[in-house]
């Protein structure tokens, strides 16, 4: 060891290998895995663009909700001008339900861009040895990747739902406020279901893919193609086929949870036609089936490539 005198009496030491005096309490590695996955995604321009689109959807629904509630509040004056409030805007339920339906699609694109390469890139780069040569279990890795993928819909769907709900509570007329309190439960239920389905399915597809871009394109295209095929089949009389498309099942569950009334403005935003399945329970099972399939695919791949 050599040392160099330093002004003020301090010394700068040039040392070789230095054992760590104190490791501190062991931190869960899943946090680092999720954070690194999202950090890498954030460095891509596509991520910022798609998150901006998600923000736009939120902003649009925010304006819709605020407009509706302001009209509710000051409706008497507007009504006197010949524009009945009920026909001008939909209900808060409709805004939340519509937000969940639209944001499911934009978030599907977001998770495809952000988490498409979560496992595919690790496999392609031979990084499994890098991970599992360290004190890391398969469960740590799975939690990390699922956490990273789940954080995207959490931020784009669940948090905005809470934000919209709080906005509604804040500016609603006192008479309407008590009714809005309980709206949080079904809205959050729909949001959690969306997060679960999106996070698990993208991770499952990424586990079997080799390239991030291929997985992303396959995910979004698959969702659209599946939706189109199911639409055709249900119109042709195969009603059961409707349960195959996740977004159709989600619509069914959200409509049941939020029971939205469709206003004139609402019908212009989302269309009069709402494709839904006959059974809410069947739709819920179908959604949980998609989530289970995604996670199952991921876990199967992990078990086949990594020794316990």
């Amino acid at each position: 060891m050599s040392d160099t005198p330093f002004e003020g009496g301090d010394r700068v030491f040039e040392v070789g290998y230095r054992p760590m005096p104190d490791r501190g309490k062991r931190q869960p590695p899943a946090v680092a895995i999720a954070r690194t996955m999202l950090t890498l995604a954030w460095r891509q321009r596509a991520t910022k663009i798609v998150l901006l689109v998600c923000l736009g959807v939120l902003a649009g629904h925010g304006v819709w909700l605020v407009g509706q509630l302001l009209f509710e509040r000051f409706g008497a004056e507007v009504g006197a001008a010949g524009m009945p409030v009920g026909e001008l805007v939909g209900s808060a339920r409709e805004v939340l339900a519509n937000f969940l339906r639209v944001q499911f699609f934009t978030t599907a694109i977001a998770v495809a861009v952000i988490a498409g390469g979560a496992i595919a890139e690790d496999r392609a780069a031979g990084a499994f040895d890098l991970y599992f040569a360290r004190p890391l279990t398969r469960a740590d890795y799975a939690w990390g990747k699922l956490g990273g993928a789940g954080l995207v819909p959490f931020v784009t769907i669940l948090l905005p739902v809470v934000l919209l709900w709080l906005t509604a509570i804040g500016i609603a007329p006192p008479a309407l406020r008590s009714e809005l309190w309980w709206l949080a439960v079904p809205a959050l239920g729909g949001g959690i279901l969306s997060v679960l389905v999106l996070a698990t399915t993208i991770i499952g597809l990424s586990a079997v893919g080799q390239k991030a871009r291929t997985v992303s394109i396959a995910y979004v295209a698959g969702l659209l193609v599946l939706s189109g095929i199911v639409e055709g089949l249900t119109n042709g009389g195969f009603a059961l086929a409707g349960y195959i498309a996740p977004e159709r099942s989600l619509h069914t569950v959200i409509d049941w949870l939020l029971a939205p009334e469709q206003s004139m403005l609402g019908s212009q935003v989302s269309g009069r036609y709402r494709p839904i399945n006959h059974s809410v329970f069947g739709s819920l099972v179908a959604l949980l089936g998609w989530a289970g399939a995604g996670f199952g695919l991921f876990w199967w791949r992990l078990r086949s490539e990594v020794v316990g």
């Binding site: 070789g16 230095r18 680092a32 890498l40 040895d129 040569a133």
Partner: protein
């Protein structure tokens, strides 16, 4: 004991990668030496719990690697031979990430990563993405990643492969520095004899999935009788003939007054003095030359196969 193996077997389809590997090895720096395909990487991956053996028992630092791989990995650092990198991360981020995967807090991981990158000599290029690195820089990052959580044992798989001579020298110097300092014990897997000779004190020689030798380098080299260099004052042929009569192998290459003498088993230098007395020659210089690691390696591989 660093590593202990007992009847370890591993097959990949029809290929028998490891056949009843048994042995114990200890030391500050251990060379895992053998040609490509000898089973070195397979054995290291079994030590880490990355591969499950088909049979047998592996102990790393006294821990059963097949039963508790996580406990082993806490005490062990590994630098794989392949690329093993996460594209998009810088060298610094890669090393800090490796530390966080071992359970260090983010701040501590970053400080430790800087320290390790200083140690391996990666300067400001540590902030560049790893995919832009040269092979030498990449090997340094991998070594830093293996060291960052302060393991008790580090396994380096072919760390000098693909390096230019200067980078190779620097990396071998680093291994020597670790061995002689407060660093962890090292297992160096390589097919290069010179790397082991320069950095290790013990060696495990493998060939075709079997262990040919496990022990110190000194013991390996003294297993061969070595050679005596004998300088004589008068004519070389008389002494050479006398030595051959006594069963020695004599080479007369090089200088005209120099004999290369390999003694028969269970004899010593007295045999040379006796031969010189018999032939009437005067010995000016008698020097024992130890067998090189290469000769010892070749002998170890040959004698048991």
């Amino acid at each position: 004991m660093l590593l202990a193996f007992s009847d370890v077997q591993k097959r990949f389809g029809a290929t028998h990668a490891l056949r009843d590997v048994s042995g114990q090895i200890d030391g500050r720096a251990v060379g895992l030496l053998g040609p490509n395909g000898a089973g070195k990487t397979t054995l290291m991956k079994i030590c880490l719990g990355l591969l499950a053996p088909d049979g047998g028992r592996v102990e790393v630092l006294g821990i059963d690697a097949t039963r508790d791989p996580t406990a082993v990995r806490l005490k062990l650092g590994y630098a794989a031979e392949g690329p093993g990198r996460i594209p998009g991360l810088s060298g610094l981020e890669s090393v800090a990430y490796a530390a966080e995967l071992c359970g260090l807090r983010r701040r501590k991981a970053l400080l430790r990563a800087h320290e390790m990158l200083d140690l391996v000599g990666l300067d400001e290029s540590r902030h560049r993405p790893v995919e832009t690195y040269s092979t030498g820089m990449h090997q340094r990052v991998k070594v830093a990643m293996a060291l960052v959580h302060d393991p008790q044992l580090v396994m380096l798989d072919e760390p000098t492969s693909g390096l230019d001579p200067d980078s190779r020298d620097e990396l071998l110097d680093l291994i020597v520095q670790l061995r002689e300092g407060e660093g962890p014990a090292i297992v160096l897997s390589t097919h290069l004899l010179h790397d082991v000779e320069r950095t290790c004190d013990s060696v495990m020689i493998m060939q075709a999935g079997t262990v040919k030798y496990a022990g110190t380098l000194d013991a390996l080299q003294t297993r061969l009788p070595g050679e005596y260099h004998v300088r004589v004052a008068s004519g070389r042929p008389a002494l050479a003939a006398a030595l051959r009569e006594r069963g020695a192998t004599v080479g007369e290459r090089g200088r005209p007054d120099l004999l290369h003498v390999a003694l028969p088993p269970n004899t010593d230098a007295d045999l040379i003095w006796a031969a010189a007395t018999a032939s009437g020659d005067t010995i000016l210089q008698l020097e024992q030359k130890a067998a090189s690691l290469e000769e010892a390696f070749m002998a170890a591989v040959a004698e048991q196969s």
